[in-house]
């Protein structure tokens, strides 16, 4: 793959596979941020499900300019490929002193595709402080199979991310990530723009693969998170390996020996 489009590296994509998210802090210029805040207060026109991204937003809209930024465009293409379609988009506003956070949830319905994923782009046009209730997300939760708010009983997990960020920050999330809009304890409205994108091509080696065999790839895929149970943490790595195999087309890849060991069936093979 060429590298002129600010495509992600293999290490960055491996981190996304492990964490279920990718942060791009402060990458959006101030003029786009200011236009976005003004636009979001007034709401946005609907986009029909399945509209090609290239046809969904007029050139003079902040969304078009946001998606045209080389860092954003490269990250999107690295994860869902060229010409994704728009699933939906929405303005999320947390009003001042709202009494309650959202229940922890994953969006849409349970979605267990083993070799494909959607991304959700979350864009924060102004600074988000701790008190403003930036989005809560749980690193490494995206492969856990839950349906929407069924996990809402859980309020806090060790190592959770309570987002604080500078203006112009973009976060790309795997569709399965557990998250919540936190309570806004300030006098100021908090804005967030969310855009869900669906791939239209197989998500295989869409990024800059020149570092595919960097040992840091396996290190990222083997990362643990403080909220994982001791035993389940090993299953998480097993499942990431399967996703990485799907994304790279390399069905021999492993982290340590987690998948290779439990798929080794010499007796069956010798009788085939």
């Amino acid at each position: 793959m060429p590298t002129s489009k600010h495509l992600l590296t293999s290490v960055q994509v491996a981190r996304f596979v492990a964490q279920g998210s990718l942060r791009l802090d402060g990458v959006v210029p101030r003029e786009i941020n200011e236009r976005a805040v003004a636009t979001l207060d007034g709401g946005l026109p609907q986009v029909s499900y399945g509209t090609p991204l290239s046809a969904a937003f007029a050139r003079d809209t902040f969304v078009h300019e946001l998606l045209a930024l080389p860092l954003v465009a490269g990250a999107v293409e690295s994860l869902v490929g060229p010409e994704p379609t728009v699933d939906h988009h929405a303005v999320h506003i947390r009003e001042p002193h709202e009494g309650h956070a959202q229940d922890l949830h994953a969006d849409a319905i349970i979605d267990v595709r083993p070799d494909a994923f959607d991304i959700q782009l979350m864009y924060y046009p102004h600074e988000v402080t701790t008190a403003m209730g930036g989005t809560l997300s749980v690193p490494g939760s995206h492969l856990r199979r839950i349906n929407e708010t069924d996990v809402g009983r859980v309020q806090n997990l060790r190592g959770q991310t309570r987002l604080t960020c500078p203006a112009g920050t973009v976060v790309l999330l795997h569709h399965g990530i557990w998250h919540s809009g936190r309570r806004n304890d300030t006098d100021r409205r908090r804005h967030m723009y969310k855009l869900r994108l669906n791939p239209t091509v197989p998500q295989v080696r869409l990024w800059d693969t020149s570092d595919l065999h960097d040992p840091a790839v396996a290190a990222e895929l083997g990362a643990g998170f403080p909220w994982y149970e001791q035993a389940t943490a090993r299953l998480e790595i097993h499942n990431r390996v399967l996703l990485w195999r799907a994304l790279t087309g390399d069905d021999t890849f492993d982290v340590e020996y987690w998948v290779t060991r439990v798929t080794n069936r010499p007796t069956q093979r010798s009788q085939a």
């Binding site: 229940d103 806090n156 997990l157 001791q230």
Partner: protein
């Protein structure tokens, strides 16, 4: 009397294993715990909650994985419910 409920998610099925997640529900109405309201667990282990007077009233069952779903991951497995019972802060209401 009013019930305070503490839910602890532990690293293993052992009650003295360390806390990886937690929730609070306050039947007295004095506090309003909610999603994402803290980064530090109230106790290091489930046993530490017992030491502080919480009474365990439910623990997750140990269920073997469903055949064919041995590698699936989902809800946190080791969930423990505790309670403290307190005087009604609004007697007569």
């Amino acid at each position: 009397m009013r019930q305070q409920v503490l839910v602890l998610y532990l690293s293993s099925s052992a009650l003295d294993s360390h806390v990886v997640g937690w929730s609070r529900y306050d039947g007295t109405g004095r506090t309003r715990p909610t999603t994402g309201d803290g980064d530090e667990p109230p106790y290091a282990t489930g046993l530490a909650a017992l030491h502080d007077g919480w009474r365990l009233f439910q623990a997750s069952q140990l269920l073997p994985p469903q055949p064919g779903h041995e590698y699936d991951v989902s809800f946190l497995k080791h969930e423990f419910f505790f309670e403290k019972v307190e005087e009604d802060p609004r007697p007569g209401t």
